[in-house]
């Protein structure tokens, strides 16, 4: 039975993508010209792990490609080659190609071979540029070699001396399995040494007495062989010696082989010190890797996504559970023999239980939290590439990268952020000439920041460019019939227009942005996350886009409201205020139904009992109930309900898992008494009300 390697694929891909990010960041750091050897080392290590991993998992295309990159990086690391801007650029592009290849391998898609070949050729070109390169061509043509930089010639195979300790089989390992595993790599010759076999009478069936000399006639990566022995390295002696090709230094190689064949034990002994050392190092690596694996939920084979969790978070979780158990047993003892004199103790215990439960909940939520730098890390590259493409001089500043956000938020916020940053670069920041003419520094700045504010996370994209063209947007909106020329709109209302589908004021569509596809999608994505987006802009000074997101998607602060005998939950983030209205606030706007006036604004009223068909509301008369003023997708309205019940945190449950999406509802939750309450989706509710024209033309129910 061989180990199903597929179960490790997910981990490999995750590690590789992380490696790519490291490489990318490192390469961007080298952009300036000065090379920090530590930086190059980090890049090299990342490339090396990707190569090793892809070789192990049989993604030879990837390992071949990475190998060439690695060769180039190696020369840089040794100072044999200068990190020219050209070389760095080619390496950056190679990182992209590699990412595509990895993505394709992960999704089972196909790679763009042409592109890979081209990039391969590019790398070769740099390598062939003899200015200090050692013998790159040899390396380039022979892709799979051991990563050690000193090995410049590729062995045709490996000789492995494998001598299990007597107790190997008791550890649950089987030498045969290891040999089979080796055989799966290529043609394998095995020679068994039976010298250690005892007399039959002394024979212990569970001990292993045999040792082997194995010859693998396949130029595989040494790491692959190492990996096979990883499981048993503590329980055996082994040595791995390369077999050199015939003709090259054959004398030496032959000698070595001969010597080994003759006295295997000595060979093992001779090579032992380096092996020992390596084992030590490897173990460290192995520990780390295993730790990571454990963290990333090793059970999931490919399908479900995983998350890396800081071990500290897990520890605090375990602590918390311990506390909870103690409290529970304390309460249990109290209950065993209880009388009224101990009520005080019971109360204390319950308070403790409540505190621990809340802490536990918080810790569990913490597990899903990852720093937003996961999402931000791609922007230096983006800005670097785009600014050169656009011929602009732009600096990216980032702050608050360590702000932690729910993993789902990270996954979904990436694309909208890219879109917004592109917009800033393309439309916001002016060309250097324009900037100088406007008396601004030649270099434009885009600031990307994240911070916690209340129960929300706020992401800001701020640039010091020309700001949004207010009049242009307004004229365009009139042209498209979105607004009337005599509409009295605030600046904010006008800026909001850019979120309309297909809205663009760009005179020219570039390949960066300007098609008018996007801002509506950006807003929709953010709304789906339960967040809101706002624009602030000063002509000539720059603009800022402010995104407000809930910290987590699993829990929501809600206001429970009652209509008739039904309870609904309004997300607290969407509530502006709740008011009781007077007759003089009400009016009916022709064609727009019931409205009420709130601080110089006329807002539509959505009668919840009509929209949701609730049969017996307490209040049909607008002055009898309560209006909850809510905002969604930049529009406001008043929800007419009977009563406000209370605020509480609710755990969001999906309605779609077993049922389906229901208009006007974003999910459900379970209340303290075990019953189900539905959570309102404010934008959806407004659409629903509009669709049904429920409040359009409805007579004012004012009887007083």
């Amino acid at each position: 039975m061989s180990i199903d390697m597929a179960q490790f694929h997910q981990v490999f891909f995750e590690e590789s993508f992380e490696g790519l990010d490291i490489m990318e960041q490192g390469l961007l750091g080298m952009d300036g010209g000065a090379v920090d050897p530590e930086e190059v080392n980090a890049i090299f290590r990342a490339a090396h792990s990707i190569k090793g991993g892809s070789g192990t998992f049989g993604f030879t295309e990837i390992s071949d490609f990475t190998h060439v990159m690695e060769t180039l990086l190696d020369e840089m690391r040794d100072g044999r080659r200068e990190a020219t801007a050209d070389a760095v650029n080619v390496l950056l592009q190679s990182v992209d190609v590699l990412r595509e290849m990895l993505t394709a391998a992960q999704d089972g898609g196909s790679t763009d071979r042409e592109r890979v070949k081209q990039q391969h050729a590019e790398l070769e070109r740099i390598l062939a540029d003899k200015e200090g390169g050692a013998e790159p061509s040899v390396l380039a043509e022979t892709p799979v070699v051991d990563g050690a930089p000193s090995v410049e010639l590729q062995p045709v195979g490996w000789k492995v001396v494998f001598r299990p300790h007597q107790h190997l089989m008791r550890t649950g390992n089987d030498p045969l399995r290891i040999i089979r595993e080796l055989a799966s790599l290529g043609e394998l010759e095995a020679e068994c040494d039976v010298a250690a076999l005892p007399e039959f009478a002394e024979f212990e069936p569970e001990d292993s007495y045999l040792s082997w000399q194995l010859r693998l006639r396949e130029p595989v990566d040494k790491a692959q062989i190492d990996d096979i022995f990883e499981w048993v390295e503590d329980d055996c002696d082994f040595a791995i010696v390369p077999i050199m090709p015939e003709g090259f230094d054959s004398e030496n190689a032959g000698e070595e082989t001969k010597a080994d064949a003759a006295v295997p034990a000595q060979a093992v002994a001779a090579t032992e010190p380096p092996v020992e050392r390596r084992v030590g190092e490897r173990r460290k690596q192995g520990d780390r890797r295993q730790g990571d694996r454990r963290g990333s939920g090793a059970g999931s084979a490919g399908t479900s996504s995983s998350i890396r969790v800081d071990i500290n978070k897990i520890d605090s979780l375990i602590n918390m559970v311990g506390e909870l158990v103690i409290t529970q047993s304390m309460l249990g003892m109290l209950g065993d023999d209880f009388d009224m004199s101990r009520v005080e103790r019971l109360r204390e215990g319950l308070t403790q239980l409540e505190r621990h439960t809340r802490e536990l909940q918080e810790s569990v939520m913490q597990i899903r939290m990852v720093p937003i730098s996961f999402s931000f890390s791609r922007f230096p590259r983006l800005v670097h590439d785009l600014s050169s493409k656009l011929g602009k001089n732009i600096e990216l500043k980032m702050s608050g990268e360590n702000t932690e956000v729910d993993k789902t938020v990270i996954e979904k916020i990436g694309d909208p952020l890219v879109h917004l940053v592109r917009n800033s670069l393309d439309h916001g920041i002016e060309t250097p000439e324009e900037r100088v003419a406007a008396g601004k520094p030649e270099m434009g700045t885009v600031h990307l920041g994240a911070s916690h504010r209340g129960g929300n996370i706020v992401i800001e994209i701020r640039d010091d460019g020309r700001g949004l063209p207010r009049d242009k947007i307004f004229n365009k909106a009139i042209e498209r019939g979105l607004v009337k020329p005599d509409d009295n709109l605030s600046d904010k209302d006008i800026y909001d227009l850019i979120f309309q589908p297909g809205f663009s004021t760009a005179e020219q569509v570039s390949d960066v942005s300007g098609r008018g596809v996007g801002m509506d999608v950006v807003r929709r994505n953010i709304n789906e996350l339960g967040g809101a987006i706002e624009i602030d802009s000063t002509p000539g000074q720059g603009s800022a886009i402010i995104i407000r997101l809930p910290l987590t998607l699993a829990i929501l602060d809600g206001q429970t409201v009652r209509i008739g005998d039904e309870t609904y939950i309004v997300p607290l983030v969407s509530i502006i205020e709740s008011i009781q209205i007077h007759e003089d606030m009400l009016s009916t706007v022709a064609g727009r139904g019931e409205t009420f006036k709130l601080r110089e604004e006329y807002l539509p009223i959505v009668r919840m009992h009509e929209v949701f068909g609730i049969e017996n509301p307490d209040a049909r008369n607008l002055t009898d109930g309560i209006l909850v003023v809510v905002e969604g997708e930049g529009r406001k309205c008043g929800l007419f309900v009977d009563d406000l019940l209370g605020q509480q945190q609710v755990v969001i449950k999906s309605l779609e898992a077993n049922h389906r999406k229901v208009d006007g509802l974003s999910g459900a939750t379970i209340l303290g008494d075990g019953s189900v309450a539905l959570i309102l989706d404010i934008p959806g509710l407004m659409r629903l009300a509009k669709q049904r024209g429920l409040n359009a033309g409805a007579p004012l129910a004012l009887t007083a």
Binding site: E566, F612, G613, L655, H659, V662, G664, V676
Partner: protein, 166 residues
């Protein structure tokens, strides 16, 4: 190892036939594959889902998951009767489209029995003369002189889910 387990399963299914849980609805017997029955619960008032078809009485909390419950009388257009002590909710689940496993609660008059039927005993449904849509029926089986209509759980759930698309 897996093959062996499959073989056992197949054997079980083939030799004695499949077990069906039968329930009563307006004095008629219906059957559900017992492997798709998750549990049987007493009737409790669910939370109404606004703007849903009438037969969908709402959703209930089933140990932390939200499960819709539908009134089978309303679903099949049978005369409505007030719920009694016997009224139960049979929670069934099935693997639906796109490999998603879904659960739903069926409100029925009462559960009655478990019957065993193999494929030969199941006869095709007549195209007419039934208030149950044909796509929801696997077939009929004669049980002690009376007919039991075997329902297809997956299609029952799917009609509930599919209406959103239309």
């Amino acid at each position: 190892m897996n093959d062996a387990a499959n073989a056992v399963l197949v054997e079980e299914e083939e030799s004695p036939g499949t077990q069906y849980l039968t329930f009563l609805l307006a004095d008629e017997q219906y059957g559900l594959n017992i492997l798709q029955v998750q549990e049987i619960r007493g009737w409790e008032k669910p939370t109404r889902i606004p703007n849903s078809p009438k037969y969908l009485r709402g959703v209930v909390n089933l140990r932390g998951t939200i499960v819709p419950v539908m009134d089978m009388r309303l679903r099949f257009g049978l005369p409505v009767e007030p719920y009694s002590k016997e009224t139960v909710v049979i929670v069934v689940n099935a693997v639906c489209k796109r490999g998603v496993e879904r659960s739903i609660g069926l409100i029925v008059d009462a559960v009655s029995d478990v019957v065993v039927a193999n494929d030969e005993q199941i006869v095709n449904t007549p195209e007419f003369g039934s208030h149950v849509p044909t796509e929801n029926i696997i077939g009929l089986v004669n049980q002690g002189g009376s007919m039991v209509m075997l329902l297809d759980v997956a299609s029952l759930i799917e009609t509930d889910v599919a209406e959103e698309d239309g």
